[in-house]
Symmetry: D2
Subunit: 142 residues, 4 copies
């Protein structure tokens, strides 16, 4: 599950398994994610909710913080899957922002539970993104 | 400042004034926002940061929660302005998600400090958005 | 509603009215808050949820960002009320952190819908808080 | 590092190593955490920040979502360490809320970089916590 030649199917399978660990007692909306590093490692994630709803952390962000906390910051692909049978469900805006922190060219696989998918990129789902570079641009004096 | 005939200039001025109230001791990156309801009321916002960085609330979300807490949930325009002189700075992904909760057709004005602007919409800056309707679609059994 | 001699009952009434504006379609858990500045102004808040649950903003934080965005940063009291009949419901940890950014001695009124209350302080409900000062203490070299 | 007989020193060492992976380009405030499951597994975490400051995820929450996403929801201890030489730095309010979702009796180890520590519990650092049970209590009709 962690070679450089990961297939989209392997990535989906990893995300789909991670989904089973979702802690989603409030939304009952399970999400799984699988993130692939440039070196071919896969990190999975699920959503983890909280009784104070605003503290919920999505599957995509879970996968990203796992990878970062193990020393990985460069990624090629992220796969997201939910329980929705008729929609290629896309990450929420917060996750899109979290993903683009690590690159605008990360391939994003949106997968239905049956494994069928649509492919896009981190930059395309957050056009004209706010990025780390923006914090360093010229400003007027406060 | 609260009639149905608000001009983009009035909206910018409101956002620009709100920016002066930014509580941004950590980023020193000030942001102002002004939100217009369908009835012509304007609600302004600034960013409010926290020593635990993850608790920061952006200017756009501040304007939105203000409006909602006064009984307004329908909006026509939101204007965002920063101190960046050379960029029409766009909302972060979290704010885009927060905006689309209230509609995909809200006009978004991205303004430089000199008042020049680019115009887009909430739906265009969060393509294929995750929305309230998604929570109600058909699912596979968990 | 905005003189220096606000009574706890007035603060509760403001919070209780704000609760009616809660946008809580996911939790159906309505919360209202009312914040008093040192100058006697009152700012109210309600919870505002999102289909991406993690983006929800609580009533207490709504009241605080409203006040800050109007130029106020010093507060004497915050009142919180929910629909729970049998519990003096306390702010979530995120809100406690957001409140202590503005002081450890803010009086916190926990109110039932009938107006009965318990009183505590921001510092007591977040003992040994992480505060802005912590970011400036001596560190080992990274 | 993952037997039932983990010592506090082992937990600190795991947290201290995780700290080196912190992605904290904005605060330069590195935090490491190590979480112990009831079965003796250790999951580590570091803080992961974002150019939109409000999206930062703390070390403690990173450790928790990692564990949950691997199928673990019962914990005995969490250790937190920063670079502060003179303070036993405590979790932010958001993390305290995230921890108590999984129990009020989790031992919390606050460690300086030299490994010296203070011990408390999740319930003691979030007194009168808002918990999952609160969402199910009796309410007045909306
Ligand atoms: Zn998300
Ligand atoms: Zn934002
Ligand atoms: Zn809260
Ligand atoms: Zn934290």
């Amino acid at each position: 599950m962690s070679t450089a030649s990961t297939t989209p199917a392997e990535l989906f399978n990893a995300a789909n398994t991670a989904k089973t660990f979702a802690y989603a007692p409030y939304s009952n909306f399970r999400v799984g994610a699988a993130l692939r590093t440039t070196s071919g490692r896969i990190f999975t994630g699920c959503n983890v909710e909280n009784s104070s709803y605003g503290l919920a952390i999505c599957a995509e962000r879970t996968a990203l913080v796992k990878a970062v906390s193990e020393g990985f910051r460069e990624f090629t692909d992220i796969c997201v899957t939910t329980d929705l049978t008729d929609k290629f469900c896309s990450p929420c805006g917060a996750c899109r922002q979290f993903i683009v922190e690590f690159g605008l060219d990360i391939t994003v696989h949106l997968c239905k539970p049956d494994g069928s998918s649509q492919i896009t990129t981190s930059g395309r789902i957050l056009p004209d993104a706010f990025t780390p570079a923006d914090l360093k641009l010229d400003r007027v004096k406060a």
